[in-house]
């Protein structure tokens, strides 16, 4: 009786390729290894969870590092203060004459900015879907010309918490799947990690 030679199948896929595929499309790492059922199960679950989080809390549950609540780039500025002298601040609009612009916050203090929005690290693990949704969140934060209010409403309290939780856990589960799939690729067997 012929048996499937998994080692020959997976030896063509490097763990890096499998990990990259798993990030680009959730579950695709397993699909590359020929494990279709596992890939589809993990992929569909991660995508449904992520989209579910966006439906519950709205797209603005995603806080994109480098962008403010009105969808504009955050700038690091030096403010001249009468009481404390010079101090650094992060603002969305630099209109004040007492401010000197140091540049985009992601260029000046990227670690501090990401630390201020820690959930974004987990959320971006869901792949390009999260990146596209982040772009949508920035666009939804921009003010509508007619009303002067943001296009998308920001959720609060439990609704926001659950939306953030869903999207962040979707990203973390995808990271888990990426690690497992690339480990299986390294082991040379689709069941490598489980063993």
């Amino acid at each position: 009786m012929p048996t499937t030679d998994y080692s020959a199948l997976v030896s063509r896929r490097s763990p890096t390729t499998v990990a990259a595929a798993g990030w680009l499309v959730p579950g695709a790492g397993y699909l590359l290894l020929g494990d279709r059922a596992r890939g589809l199960t993990v992929g569909i679950t991660v995508v449904v969870l992520f989209v579910g989080g966006l439906l519950i809390g709205g797209v603005r549950v995603l806080e994109v590092p480098g962008y403010g609540p009105h969808g504009r780039p955050l700038e690091t500025v030096v403010v001249r203060d009468r009481q404390s002298g010079l101090r650094e601040d992060v603002v969305e609009e630099t209109s004040d004459e007492n401010q000197r612009d140091l540049g985009w916050v992601m260029r000046v203090h990227p670690i501090d900015e990401i630390r201020n929005k820690p959930w974004s690290i987990a959320q971006v693990m869901a792949g390009p879907l999260a990146v596209a949704a982040g772009a949508g969140a920035v666009m939804a934060s921009e003010r509508d010309v007619a009303t002067g209010l943001p296009v998308g409403a920001r959720s609060h309290a439990r609704v926001n918490e659950i939306g953030v939780l869903y999207t962040a856990i979707a990203g973390m589960l995808n990271l888990l799947a990426i690690i497992d799939a690339s480990h299986r690729a390294a082991q040379g067997s689709p069941q490598g990690a489980a063993q």
Binding site: A37, T41, G57, G152, R158, I169, A194
Partner: protein, 101 residues
């Protein structure tokens, strides 16, 4: 008749507000409507537990045939665990309130 009366007086106002909320809702741009009283949000933990269980068991199980049963099993255990933790915390809070309140 009683059932119709209960339906009109109790459920209809809630149903009407829910339908109005859903019709006015723009998915993704606005948060989900539905009142969001304290009795509602814990139910959203169930799909989350199920998703975590499905992915976890998909990674752990050698054969995907075992995943559905084992995922449901572990979902029940997670819910029971969270319920137990909630009960213990409630007892702890009540005890602190009783002795120090």
């Amino acid at each position: 008749m009683i059932a119709a009366g209960v339906c009109v007086n109790f459920f209809m106002p809630h149903l009407a507000s829910l339908v109005t909320g859903v019709l006015a809702w723009t998915p993704f741009l606005q948060p989900m409507p539905g009142g969001w009283r304290d009795s509602v949000w814990p139910w959203f933990m169930l799909p989350l537990c199920l998703a975590v269980s499905v992915v976890y068991k998909s990674i752990k199980c050698e054969s995907m045939r075992h995943v559905p049963r084992q995922a449901v099993e572990i979902t029940v255990w997670i819910i029971l665990g969270m319920g137990g933790a909630a009960a213990l915390l409630a007892i702890l809070v009540r005890s602190v309130e009783y002795f120090h309140g």
